[in-house]
C-alpha cells in the first residue's frame, strides 16, 4: 500500500507551499504565532488564579488539572495544525475552490486539509506542550504509563481529527454551519480542560460514547495519576483511547464520503 504514504507526501508538499507563502510576510507570521500562544496561555493562567483560591477542583490538584489541560490542549493543537482548514469547506464550496480541487488527481480530503496550512497555530502547540511538560514532572512514571501517555496524545489528536472532519461535513448540506460544528469541536475541547467529575453522570456518558472527548485525556490521565474513575466505570476504559481514536476517525471518513457524494449529486 503505497497510496497513504504518497498522499501524506502530497499533503506535506502542499502544506510546505503555504508555509512559504506565509513567510512572504514574516513579521505578521511571527506576531500571529506569538499572539496565538499568549491568548491560549491565558486559559491556563485562569486555572492558576482559580487554584490560588481553591485547594482542589472536584478532588483534583493543580498539577493534576494541568495534566488534563495540557494533554487535551496538545491533542487539539496537533489536530488543529494538521487539518484545521477542513472547517473552511463551506467557503470553498461558495467560492468554487472545491470544484477546482476536484479536478486535481489528489484525494479531496488531502487537499482540503493541507490548504492554507499555517504554522501560526504553533503558538497554541508550544503553550500546550509547556503546560503538559510541567505537569508530567509530577507523574510517577512507569514504562506502561509512558506508553499510555504517548498513545493518549496520538489518540487524542485522532479523536479531534475525526470531530473536525465529521462536523465540518455538515457544510456539505448547509453552508455557514461553522458555528454549529465549533460547538462540538472547540466545545468538546474546552470541556476536557477540567476534571470531568464537575459534570453530572449523564454528561459524562455523552462525552464517552457520543462525542468521545473523554478518551482524549480523562481516562488515560486517570491511569497516569493512578486513580480510578470517580464515576466507577471500568478501568479498561483507561486503555481504550486508541480504539476511540480509530473509531472516531473511521466514522468521520464515512461521513466525509457521504458528504462528497451528496455534493457531487447536488452541485450546490
Amino acid at each position: 500500500m503505497a497510496e497513504p504514504t504518497s498522499h501524506l507526501r502530497t499533503y506535506g508538499q502542499i502544506a510546505w507551499l503555504w508555509v512559504r507563502a506565509a513567510w512572504q510576510y514574516p513579521t505578521s507570521f511571527v506576531l500571529l504565532a506569538v499572539g496565538n500562544g499568549l491568548i491560549t496561555g491565558l486559559d491556563f493562567v485562569g486555572l492558576w488564579i482559580m487554584f490560588s483560591h481553591l485547594r482542589d477542583l472536584a478532588g483534583f490538584t493543580l498539577h493534576e488539572v494541568a495534566l488534563l489541560y495540557g494533554s487535551a490542549s496538545l491533542a487539539l493543537a496537533i489536530a488543529d495544525t494538521a487539518i484545521g482548514s477542513v472547517e473552511r469547506i463551506g467557503t470553498y464550496i461558495r467560492t468554487g475552490r472545491l470544484d477546482q480541487m476536484m479536478t486535481k488527481p489528489v484525494p479531496l480530503l488531502v487537499q482540503v486539509c493541507a490548504d492554507q496550512f499555517t504554522l501560526r497555530r504553533l503558538g497554541r502547540l508550544t503553550q500546550a506542550a509547556v503546560v503538559f511538560g510541567w505537569a508530567c514532572t509530577f507523574v510517577d512514571w512507569t514504562p506502561l504509563r509512558v506508553l499510555v501517555a504517548g498513545s493518549m496524545l496520538i489518540s487524542g489528536a485522532l479523536v479531534f481529527f475525526g470531530l473536525f472532519v465529521g462536523f465540518s461535513c455538515v457544510q456539505f448540506w448547509t453552508t455557514d454551519a461553522t458555528e454549529f460544528a465549533n460547538a462540538f469541536t472547540y466545545g468538546g475541547a474546552t470541556v476536557t480542560q477540567y476534571p470531568l467529575t464537575i459534570f453530572p453522570r449523564e454528561v459524562m456518558v455523552g462525552l464517552t460514547f457520543v462525542i468521545p472527548v473523554a478518551f482524549v485525556n480523562w481516562y488515560p490521565c486517570l491511569y497516569l495519576l493512578g486513580r480510578s474513575d470517580p464515576f466507577g466505570s471500568s478501568d479498561l476504559l483507561q486503555f481504550a483511547s486508541p480504539l476511540a481514536g480509530v473509531l472516531t476517525m473511521a466514522a468521520a471518513l464515512l461521513v466525509w464520503r457521504t458528504g462528497v457524494r451528496h455534493y457531487t449529486s447536488t452541485g450546490s
Binding site: 502530497t10 507563502a21 512572504q24 468554487g96 470544484d99 477546482q100 479536478t103 486535481k104 449529486s265 452541485g267
Partner: protein, 328 residues
C-alpha cells in the same frame, strides 16, 4: 503527441448520450406555507461526441446548462440520466483517475498560489500530477516560450496582470499533457493583444500535440479564430451542432445595413433587403447573413442620396435566441 491515448480507438474521446441532469429546487409559492419542491432540468436529452484533436466551441446564453455540462464532464457533478464517457472513463466514478488526463481552466478563478512566485505553483503541480521531471521541464520551457511568461516566473501571482495570470493558469492546466482541455471563458477581460496571443497559442497547441479543446465563451471571435465546430446549447439541450458559418444560415440570422440619408425619406425599397426601422433620415435595413452586402449597398446608393452607411454583424446571442424561439 499526447503519451496516453483513449482505451478504445473506435470510441470518441468525449461521448455524451441522452445526458440529463435535474436539480431539486425548493421554491416559495403563494398559498403554500412550506416551500414547494420542484425539479428543474438543467440539462436534458443532450447528445454529442468529440473526437480526439477537435476544437469545439460550446456556447449558449447564461443559464443554458454550459457549466452543468462541464461539471459533469469533469466528474464534479453526477448525471441523473444518460451515458457519459471521457477517454473511456466514467467521470464521476473515476474522477481522480480522469483528473490526470484532463486540464480545466475556469476563466474567472485562478488555481495559482496568490502570494508565491508563479514557478512555485508549477512545481507543486509537477508533484501533484507526478509529471516526470524531464517532461515537466520540456513542457514548462515550451509554454513559457510560447506564452512569453519568462519574465514573470519569479513574480508573485498577485502582482501579475490579468492576461499574465490567465497565461499562467493555462500553463498550469497543460503541464501534465492532458488529452483534453476545458476552457471556460478564457479570454474574458483580456485586451485585444492578449486575446490574439492566447488564441494563437491554443491553435498551436492543437496543431502540435493534437490536444482536444472544448471552449465555452461569449466571445464570438474566440470561436471564429479557433473552432471548426460549434455546439449551441439552450434550455439544457443542444439546438445546433455544426460549423460556425452553418450556424448563421441555420439560425436565419440577418445583418443590418444602417443608412443615413441626406434627407428624410419614405422606407427604402430595394431588392434583397427590407426596412426594419426608420428614425428621421436614418433607416435600418436587414438582409440575410449569408448574402453579400455589395448589391444591397449598390442598390441603395444608386436610388438615394446617402450621407453615410454602416453594417452591423449578427449577434451570436440573437442567433441563439432566434434558434430556440423557432423550436429548433
Amino acid at each position: 503527441m499526447s503519451p496516453s491515448q483513449p482505451d478504445h480507438p473506435s470510441q470518441p474521446l468525449i461521448d455524451v448520450r441522452d445526458l440529463e441532469r435535474t436539480f431539486d429546487v425548493r421554491r416559495r409559492v403563494e398559498g403554500h406555507r412550506r416551500r414547494v419542491r420542484e425539479q428543474v432540468q438543467a440539462v436534458h436529452d443532450l447528445t454529442f461526441s468529440v473526437e480526439a484533436g477537435e476544437m469545439v466551441g460550446y456556447i449558449g446564453p447564461n443559464g443554458a446548462g454550459k457549466s452543468t455540462t462541464i461539471k459533469m464532464l469533469t466528474g464534479i457533478l453526477v448525471p441523473t440520466g444518460g451515458e457519459l464517457r471521457v477517454g473511456g472513463l466514467d467521470p464521476s466514478r473515476q474522477r481522480v483517475e480522469l483528473a490526470r488526463r484532463i486540464g480545466v481552466v475556469f476563466g474567472q478563478r485562478s488555481t495559482l498560489w496568490w502570494d508565491l512566485p508563479l514557478i512555485d505553483s508549477f512545481e507543486l503541480l509537477q508533484k501533484m500530477y507526478r509529471i516526470p521531471v524531464h517532461r515537466y521541464r520540456e513542457n514548462l520551457d515550451r509554454f513559457v516560450d510560447l506564452l512569453d511568461l519568462g519574465a514573470q516566473l519569479d513574480t508573485p501571482v498577485r502582482q501579475l496582470s490579468l492576461g499574465q495570470r490567465m497565461r499562467g493558469d493555462i500553463t498550469a492546466a497543460l503541464l501534465h499533457d492532458p488529452e483534453v482541455i476545458y476552457l471556460d471563458e478564457p479570454t474574458i477581460g483580456l485586451d485585444v493583444v492578449s486575446k490574439g496571443r492566447l488564441r494563437e497559442f491554443l491553435r498551436a497547441l492543437n496543431a502540435e500535440r493534437g490536444t482536444t479543446l472544448l471552449l465555452t465563451t461569449h466571445d464570438l471571435q474566440d470561436i471564429e479564430a479557433l473552432c471548426d465546430r460549434v455546439i449551441v446549447i439552450d434550455h439544457g439541450t443542444s439546438v445546433y451542432d455544426g460549423s460556425l458559418a452553418g450556424l448563421h444560415a441555420h439560425g436565419g440570422s440577418t445583418r443590418t445595413l444602417v443608412v443615413d440619408l441626406v434627407d428624410e425619406a419614405p422606407p427604402i425599397d430595394v431588392p434583397g433587403a427590407e426596412v426594419r426601422a426608420v428614425e428621421g433620415p436614418r433607416q435600418w435595413l436587414s438582409f440575410p447573413a449569408d448574402a453579400s452586402a455589395a448589391p444591397v449597398v449598390a442598390a441603395v446608393a444608386s436610388s438615394y442620396d446617402v450621407a453615410d452607411l454602416s453594417i452591423q454583424e449578427p449577434d451570436i446571442e440573437d442567433v441563439i435566441r432566434e434558434l430556440y424561439s423557432r423550436g429548433a
